[in-house]
């Protein structure tokens, strides 16, 4: 039969009403919990580091201070975007980021408070922002991961510049789109100038270096000898070895001290300017940088401790001399945009 405009069904008011009621009921319970954030005895943390890594640190903080922590975990970049969207209505007091990039992004938006000197002074001045809006609390080193069956340790390169040589043709993995790599490349660029950086990257592309999206994927690929070398964070190989033991056929190699290939990527802690709990927030940062938690970070999570006077775990490669933050970056966003442009133009992402 034909369509019957006159007899056609009317919208489902009842269903809609029922759905609305359900939503409101859900909302009441949910807002009740959300209100707990206003409790002066609790802090809200946005964490770009995974719960498996920093969760124990938070638990220890609550046990020590009685201050409960409400934590939203997520990718650092996503959380930074969320914070930008929330603006001064954000419930967050503290934001932990994998690298200084997202912190710089928020700093540019004027959303970060200045951290107390006492906290800032726990680390070397290369490990904090010059204006005191972020402080590093753990480091991951940029290293060269290699396949232990295919590569003789004696042949390992001293410098990242060696990787453009013929003996590495088609054998090196580059995580061109990875944010840690981009952090490193930005610093590399600023220290050596754009011309040298572009020349190096183009030479890598010409040398048949392969693009992999993630550090973890590179370590896996190297481990199974899909490729023999990779520019990665040191951290991944430790986790792989922890999981797979001797079956993991990859190892880390640090470039020679002072080489531009080595770099420390700093995980940063920031306090939101909109937070009403500046004191408690600074206490949390101080806790992150306490000897005990720093020892946990290096001993259990295999990261480099940044608090002065805490030694890195013995199994870690030598501490890279350079770190993000060592070079003063005026306009973080502009520099990272430039980095992305160069990386895209090089064609490495299509390799």
């Amino acid at each position: 039969m034909r369509d019957l405009p006159n007899n056609a069904p009317r919208p489902f008011r009842h269903l809609a009403r029922a759905a609305a009621v359900a939503l409101v009921l859900l909302g009441v319970t949910a807002t009740a919990t959300a209100c707990a954030g206003d409790d002066p005895d609790s802090l809200t943390v946005y964490s770009g580091r995974s719960e498996k890594l920093v969760g124990p640190i938070f638990e220890a903080f609550t046990a020590e201070t009685g201050i409960a922590l409400e934590v939203r975990y997520g990718s650092s970049n996503d959380l930074a975007l969320l914070l930008a969207e929330e603006g001064d209505k954000s419930p967050a007091d503290v934001f932990l980021s994998r690298s200084p990039g997202p912190a710089g992004f928020l700093d540019d938006l004027g959303m970060l408070a200045t951290i107390e000197d006492e906290v800032l002074e726990r680390v070397a001045d290369t490990d904090r922002s010059p204006d005191g809006t972020w402080v590093g609390f753990a480091g991951r080193g940029r290293v060269l991961v290699y396949n232990v069956d295919e590569v003789d340790p004696a042949d390992l390169p001293d410098s990242v510049f060696d990787l453009t040589g013929p003996e590495y043709a088609g054998r090196v993995a580059v995580p061109g789109s990875n944010s840690s790599f981009q952090d490193w490349f930005t610093l590399f660029r600023l220290r050596n100038g754009d011309d040298v950086a572009i020349e190096w990257l183009d030479a890598m592309v010409a040398n048949g270096s392969r693009f992999y999206p993630k550090n973890g994927a590179i370590v896996e690929a190297v481990g199974r000898n899909e490729i023999q070398f990779g520019l990665v964070n040191h951290y991944y190989n430790f986790q792989k070895v922890a999981a797979n033991g001797d079956a993991q056929r990859s190892a880390n190699h640090g470039f020679a001290a002072g080489d531009d290939g080595g770099l420390m990527i700093i995980a940063t802690a920031t306090v939101l300017d909109s937070s009403d709990e500046q004191d408690a927030a600074n206490r949390l940062l101080a806790h992150l940088l306490s000897d005990e938690q720093q020892a946990y970070l290096t001993g259990k999570v295999y990261e480099y401790p940044l608090a002065l006077g805490v030694a890195p775990a013995a199994v870690l490669p030598p501490v890279p001399a350079d770190r993000v933050g060592a070079v003063d970056i005026d306009d973080v966003a502009a520099e990272f945009t430039r980095t992305i442009e160069i990386i895209e133009a090089s064609g490495i992402l299509d390799q």
Binding site: P5, A8, F12, E70, Y236
Partner: protein, 521 residues
């Protein structure tokens, strides 16, 4: 209602207009056009291959005497539940040298020297993980179709293969189109698989530039949305033309009037079983074996006194329960929300219906991150609602806006399947609008709605960015825990959580989709 679905689009447009760079200049640059072309290429390929695969699997599992059909009907839709990054990662590492699947095959004498990446890799992985978008609606449609036409055709001497192309295909055409559309939109919005396969699509560029080049990122998101709208409109045009052609066949046969006709597979039973088992093996079992390999390794290691598993019952049970109820609630709310849209668009075929349809369906093409950000943006700027930021309703709302599209087309098909005479009969027996809906239309639409709700449910269970950003703080689902452990590279723990996710998906698929669609048989 549709306005709610337009929120992400409105947000993206607002951001693009408010940006400092000219959107046109951004969109026209080669940096934009190359990923756009790759996106279209991939989406078209994946849509086509899933259409074939999903339809074949649906027909084999509903219309033939395939052994163990009930079992297959539960497991065939399951690959949908792998979060893209987990599925692709497990898939790649399983098939690569050192991976368990590769090594097992090696022991059996096969050399799987597969180097999956780029277009081919992304195509294969996405096809394997998204064919359920076609399979579920087509299987639901087949389950509710009268078999009379097929029987007639058989009696007229057609062989099953001919019956399939001449009779079955025209009847399920709209369901195939609906499913392929979802696959297209999923592919366009996918991040995980293309990322791991090193195939730079629009979404990849959006994610890469999201923090340091927000203008471009939003301009690309808008481009993605426009592409989606275009495809949705095209699909609707095709579907309507098809509906006109298939009207006579599809007719309004009595729903599930008899036991479905089964085609004896005969000598084809081995290839058919091979196809179903092969697909399930690749898409479901291979990643699961890799996961089990990782998980088991970690468990054995901890048993032998090595590093202990950093996972306790609390890490599993709480997130499992959260996953189950939020997915079920979202599925029900999504179906309730899209049902009026389905009625509007099928019973009133006018321009408004077309716009509403496009807006709702295109929401699926927007990356979850953008959906979550847009809802935070709008709730914060809609004064009485700003208290709701980070609450369950906003989370459910975000899921519904993002995934409602998956229920829309199956709901539309379901509405279309209700014989008009059933409604007429009920009206003449004195039943008003509400009673007709509750006692006649909903029961008749149940298989279709359940299939749509099932898709929403499976998607919700694995959704990540929206869950991480829009959920109440501290709300953990299995997907967030899988992601967290994956980020920390705690692979054994990740594997165990992913297997739990897989297990409860199987249970819920059985409860909500398979059992429901059998209900009318």
């Amino acid at each position: 209602m549709a306005a709610a679905f337009a929120l992400p689009g409105g947000y993206v447009t607002w951001r693009v207009i408010g940006g400092t760079e000219s959107p046109l200049a951004l969109l026209a640059s080669h940096r934009t056009l190359a990923p756009l072309w790759r996106t279209v290429q991939l989406a078209v390929l994946v849509s086509a291959s899933t259409a074939v695969l999903g339809t074949a699997l649906a027909w084999i599992t509903t219309r033939t005497d395939l052994a163990g059909r009930r079992f297959w009907r539960i497991v065939v839709p399951l690959p949908l539940v792998y979060p893209s990054f987990v599925g692709a990662a497990a898939f790649i590492s399983g098939l690569s040298p050192g991976g368990i699947v590769h090594d097992l095959a090696g022991d059996l004498g096969f050399d799987l020297a597969i180097r999956l990446h780029g277009l081919t890799g992304a195509w294969l992985v996405l096809t394997l993980f998204t064919y359920p978008y076609v399979y579920l609606p087509v299987a639901a449609r087949l389950a509710s179709l009268p078999t009379a036409f097929e029987e007639n055709a058989r009696l007229l001497g057609d062989r099953p293969a001919r019956v399939f192309t001449r009779v079955v295909l025209p009847q399920v055409g709209s369901s195939i189109a609906a499913g392929s559309l979802l696959v297209f939109l999923y592919t366009v919005s996918d991040f995980g698989a293309v990322h791991l396969m090193r195939f730079e699509t629009l979404t990849q560029t959006i994610f890469r530039t999201r923090l340091f080049d927000r203008d471009r990122s939003f301009a690309l998101a808008l481009l993605l949305l426009l592409l989606a709208l275009l495809v949705v409109a095209a699909e609707r045009t095709i579907a309507r033309a098809g509906a006109r052609r298939g009207a006579l066949l599809a007719g309004d046969g009595t729903v599930g009037d008899r036991r479905a006709l089964t085609v004896g597979l005969g000598r084809w039973s081995v290839p058919a079983t091979g196809l179903v088992a092969g697909v399930v093996g690749l898409a479901l079992v291979a990643p699961a074996v890799s996961l089990a390999d990782w998980g088991l390794f970690g468990w054995i290691r901890s048993r032998r006194g090595g590093a202990s598993l950093r996972l306790d019952w609390g890490d599993v049970l709480g997130p499992t329960w959260n996953t189950v109820w939020i997915a079920a609630v979202t599925a029900v709310v999504a179906v309730a929300v899209v049902l009026p849209v389905a009625y509007l668009t099928t019973r009133h075929r006018n321009r408004l219906g077309g716009v509403v349809n496009a807006v709702v369906v295109a929401g699926f093409a927007i990356p979850g991150l953008v959906v979550a950000l847009s809802l935070v943006f709008w709730t914060l700027h809609a004064s009485p609602f700003d208290a709701l930021v980070g609450s369950m309703p906003v989370l459910v709302f975000a899921y519904v806006v993002h995934f409602g599209a998956q229920a829309v087309r199956t709901a539309q098909v379901a509405v279309d399947t209700i014989p008009r005479r059933m409604e007429d009969a009920a009206r003449l027996l004195g039943a008003g609008r509400v009673r007709r809906l509750a006692t006649v239309e909903l029961p008749l639409m149940l298989p279709g709605l359940a299939a749509g709700g099932g898709l929403v449910m499976l998607s919700t269970m694995k959704e990540l960015p929206a869950t991480l950003l829009a959920s109440p703080i501290g709300f953990r689902t299995l997907a967030t825990q899988v992601w967290d452990t994956y980020e920390a590279l705690f692979l054994p723990e990740m594997a165990i959580l992913a297997l739990v996710l897989l297990g409860i998906s199987a249970v819920m698929t059985w409860l909500l989709v398979v059992r429901r669609s059998d209900h009318l048989r």
